[in-house]
């Protein structure tokens, strides 16, 4: 049965870009462990010979006609941005962080 440690939860939070607090880590570690123990039941019946299903309706290669359509335009696109400058999204620096 799975058992997930506080450190593993901290690692998951980093992977998911969630700057969780210490209090949240304590809470989530216990809850995730209970949830994972419960959902691991899927292994009881998922034998090797069963094909996986990713979608209820099997569809492949759905294309639209390749034609020019109106788009939102710059003003509408930037209207919801947390920060914009010179008609572009303004974002924090992306360099100079630890790898």
């Amino acid at each position: 049965m799975p058992s997930i440690s506080r450190d593993e939860v901290a690692h998951l939070a980093r992977l998911a870009r969630l700057a969780v607090t210490d209090d949240e880590l304590d809470l989530f570690a216990g809850q995730l462990d209970v949830i994972l123990q419960s959902v691991s039941a899927v292994g009881d019946i998922a034998t090797a010979d069963i094909p996986p299903t990713s979608h209820a309706v099997p569809l492949t290669n759905v294309f639209r006609e390749d034609v020019v359509r109106p788009s939102l335009g710059q003003a509408k696109t930037l209207a919801g941005a947390p920060a914009a400058e010179d008609g572009r999204f303004r974002v924090p620096r992306i360099l100079g962080e630890e790898a």
């Binding site: 998911a16 994972l36 019946i45 979608h55 309706v57 939102l72």
Partner: protein, 503 residues
């Protein structure tokens, strides 16, 4: 009957016949929202001006003798806040989208507007549709009009409560694991999850893309069918949209209302009974099955053994897809941004924003999904869950080879108290026990009220499931049952909601 207590079909007939104006109808509902929503909290946003302008347009058509845009033209509706609409905020019940306005309409919104349906506003929901009680909304819980201390179901508790509080005759919900049907069940209203792919997901903020499906919510089966036909249909903006005619659900609801179900084979799912089910829920369900038998249906027991594994499979698949879908909330292009003070880089801003903007349940599911998809665990978790999905679809196929529809209680209990399950995710997840299989297999399913529980006097729902693209089968059964139920119980259940005036 007062305007707010009328059905959508009745309102449409009155508006189209010039007996009452669409503006009067809209205003009556806006007034109702003003007087009761402080206690119910069904609406996150009320679009008074937009609603009145849309209603005026319908009145202009009627006055000029032009044909109305659709059978529901002029009828007010409450839109779940997970479907984007220009001119209104879309929050998905999350702080991360507080104040955000979509620059475009979802296909559902567009179809509603083109049909002349009057959108009153946006309804409250569990954050990003993750929850079964609407307590996970960042904007406070919605209260069940049957008992304001209880939950209205979730994630679409705002939509179900708006119907039960007579704030709107129609609503839109979305159902990923039961978020239309379970709220319908606990509020004594009708909720339909159409076949996956039959209502476009374009502009529906994604939670779990292979499961999410928008659908109609109403107080009667016919009203739900009328709304179903407005919103359903092929859309080339959704790559999983089914290019096939919309099933004839309105005709089926009218046929069903004649009250004859002879020749219809109904299967009772034997897995959805026993431990964890309230006696009052089971008693109401058994009475409903007996009523179906009296209407002429042939009732048999059907075993779907893999349904016992639907909940574990769902709580791997849905969080996995959510962890990927919610990666878009990166604080760069829209929504909240926290910590952009020149000292933090983009990744730190992203992590600080997501921690501040997402609530606990969303974080839990993102982390579960991240875990289930990581390389060492993929086969044991996500891969196995996808196999269970195959087994569930096979169980449905085998069942529908012998019966026309399947039935079960919609949810194992009546509405629980606000706060009761909030610290126990597994207890909360059990609310979706009976509804999840149809999301995993993609078939149609709905909840129709079956009466009040003898345990606590709260509404119980009957779930009816039909094969993919056979949505009309369940509408026929539901409409027949609704007529029989009203006759047996002395009138529509919904009229027994306690008065909310004076809140």
């Amino acid at each position: 009957m007062s305007l707010i207590r009328s059905t959508a079909a009745e309102l449409a007939a009155k508006i189209h016949g010039g007996e009452v104006s669409a503006v009067e109808v809209a205003q009556a509902h806006l007034d109702r929202i003003s007087s009761v929503d402080k206690g119910v909290n069904a609406f996150l946003h009320v679009d008074t001006d937009g609603a009145l302008a849309a209603a005026k347009k319908v009145d202009d058509d009627v006055a000029a003798g032009r044909p109305v845009a659709s059978p529901l033209a002029g009828v007010p509706l409450a839109l779940k806040d997970v479907l984007v609409a220009e001119g209104m905020p879309t929050t998905c019940g999350s702080k991360i989208l507080e104040g955000w306005h979509s620059p475009y309409d979802s296909t559902v919104t567009r179809r509603l507007r083109e049909a002349g349906v009057v959108i009153l506003g946006k309804t409250n929901m569990d954050e990003f549709a993750m929850g079964s009680s609407t307590e996970n909304s960042a904007y406070g819980p919605t209260h069940n009009p049957w008992d304001l201390d209880r939950i209205p179901g979730g994630s679409g508790g705002g939509s179900s409560a708006a119907l039960a509080a007579f704030e709107a005759p129609l609503a839109i919900g979305t159902d990923t694991g039961g978020s239309i049907r379970q709220p319908g069940s606990v509020t004594g209203t009708v909720g339909v999850k159409p076949t996956y792919g039959s209502v476009s997901r374009y502009g529906l903020v994604a939670f779990s893309s292979s499961l999410d499906q928008a659908g109609p919510c109403a107080r009667t089966v016919l009203d739900a069918a009328l709304l179903h036909e407005v919103i359903a249909g092929y859309d080339n903006m959704d790559s999983t949209s089914i290019d096939a005619p919309v099933p004839p659900v309105v005709a089926a609801a009218r046929e069903g209302a004649s009250g004859d179900l002879s020749g219809v084979r109904v299967g009772v799912v034997s897995q959805f009974s026993g431990e964890g089910y309230q006696p009052g829920v089971l008693a109401s369900f058994e009475a409903a099955v007996e009523q179906l038998r009296q209407l002429g249906a042939e009732v048999v027991q059907v075993s779907c053994p893999s349904f016992d594994y639907a909940m574990p499979a769902y709580y791997l698949i849905a969080p996995s897809e959510a962890s990927s879908n919610l990666a878009r909330f990166d604080a760069m292009r829209y929504g909240l941004r926290v910590g952009d003070d020149g000292t933090h880089g983009a990744e730190e801003v992203m992590a600080l924003t997501r921690d501040a903007g997402f609530g606990a349940e969303v974080k839990r599911r993102i982390m579960i999904g991240t875990y289930a998809l990581s390389s060492g665990y993929y086969d044991a978790y996500y891969g196995s869950a996808q196999k269970v999905r195959t087994l569930i679809a096979r169980d449905f196929d085998a069942a529908f080879a012998t019966v026309d529809v399947l039935v079960s209680p919609t949810t194992p209990t009546t509405a629980f108290k606000i706060g009761e399950r909030v610290d126990d995710p597994m207890a909360m997840y059990k609310a979706d026990l009976c509804t999840i299989p149809s999301n995993l297999a993609g078939n149609a399913a709905m909840s129709v009220p079956s009466g009040l529980s003898a345990d606590d006097g709260l509404p119980v729902g009957l779930q009816i499931m039909a094969p993919a693209l056979q949505d009309h089968r369940m509408y026929r059964v539901a409409a027949a049952y609704e007529v029989a139920r009203d006759a047996a119980q002395g009138g529509p259940l919904i009229q027994r909601v306690p008065q909310l005036e004076g809140i």
